[in-house]
Subunit: 316 residues, 2 copies
Amino acid sequence: MTVSLPSFAQIQDAAARLAPHARVTPVLRSDALDALAGAELHFKCENLQRGGAFKFRGACNAVWALDEASAARGVATHSSGNHGTALALAAATRGIRAHVVVPEGAVRAKLEAIERAGAVLHRCAPTQAAREAATAQLVQATGAMLVHPYADTQVMAGQGTLALELLAQAPALDALVTPVGGGGLAAGVATAAHALRPELALFAAEPAGADDAARSLARGERVTDVVPQTVCDGLRALVGEPNLQALREHRVEIVTVSDEEAVEAMRLLWRELKQVVEVSSATALAAVLKAKDRFAGRRVGVVLTGGNVDLDALPW
Amino acid sequence: MTVSLPSFAQIQDAAARLAPHARVTPVLRSDALDALAGAELHFKCENLQRGGAFKFRGACNAVWALDEASAARGVATHSSGNHGTALALAAATRGIRAHVVVPEGAVRAKLEAIERAGAVLHRCAPTQAAREAATAQLVQATGAMLVHPYADTQVMAGQGTLALELLAQAPALDALVTPVGGGGLAAGVATAAHALRPELALFAAEPAGADDAARSLARGERVTDVVPQTVCDGLRALVGEPNLQALREHRVEIVTVSDEEAVEAMRLLWRELKQVVEVSSATALAAVLKAKDRFAGRRVGVVLTGGNVDLDALPW
């Protein structure tokens, strides 16, 4: 099955669908972090989005894009956490059921959040193959509509609304950085951002221990034999095929960061920006601090993707 | 020396003085916390203020209210932390020197912040008497102007600007809750809030281990023999005389909370609102959750006073 990238019109439609349900998240600044980076950083705080992550945008758009008959059979997905919560919350806004396949080893706080949001949990082994197989089986059994976490047109369109919002809040940006895991956010944001501002420089931060997007771009085809080994639990998914295509088309530059750099950036965001953010989110700041020459003196949008953290298991 | 309470006009003047320097902090919401409280909570995020606490408002107003000659001799204060950072940052906005007397045992992260902000640190024993003596000596020696952390008209006026801002952002509030330590915030906010909305119900949250304000109101005079024993390091100061007067005049109801309740509320704020806040700040939410009948079904402004936390010494 080929999944097409969203058009700018589909992203605008998504923004209209989301308006009654999603939050307009604030953009925060920090003098101390600006000084550290030598740049003007505008942090888009999706940790303050419903469900504590940007994922609500894509999930909610996918749920409300369904026709009545499909919606009635519910939705299903696999997720290491945030997409699962998001889909559960999104399903609830339409009064339909959500099934979520979760890999063993996922962050406890995220699993609790998915259950609190009202989803039915289904456990599986922590591999991409096991996740996809369990989800396929579930879809077969229930007739629920699969909402893939990132390789889905409406999900990418929903994530793209973040860029519309950020560029309205901080119109003079020179560059924009998101983390990249499966690439739903990176693809949606690249499409939306370049439709509005073709000259914007786009970056994606990727953990060294799950650097399949960087390898895929370097090799010119999707690399699928990477076994993710990173503390960034939200970025362990392999980049999707349409997502990779978007990264290529929009010349998104990947910055690879170590787990240590991500954890240090996480501490900085907690200490200076006073935001509870996940280590996966912090890769974006880690990338800015690592590739300093790319950002020096520029106005940089930094997307903080989520804030669902197990407060009893902080990574420092 | 009698310190008078600020007039509403002085609070408005303070707002004008602060405008070029202070941040307009956001007001955040949480569905989960609303559900827990059974009320509509509007969190005023002063953890996002410059210096990471509301204290910048009062300090900055005091610094800019000085005449040229006084300002040139610098400013001095004693502080367990946030007021010290605030005064250092405020002094820097005017290019003058700040001396800060700090008690032994203060939170390390706060002392580092005071030094980073450019103040000269002077250490003393952790008692009210030692703090006041050391500060008096310092003022004598340097000619610096004392900016008391709370029993100061311009400081109270500066803190009061928070209420002007909050009532513009969330005009339909029924009630407002601040923590109370020395009472600078509580006094300024009560004065400003009641000038704009005389019917607003005002509450102050106080740790059980430093409940001198509650005792003082009950006894009808300032109680000064309380030895503070609480994890809420920002609320260990004894309520000031003019501050107590403001609490009385504005019929501010004190809600006493235990350290355990404050720590639990702190965790909730981190988990649900994704805000790094101090345990002292969390007393305000703890009060709302404890005195539920006071707030049920109402629109409540909850002031989150600061976010300067030692990330290596979390209280859970």
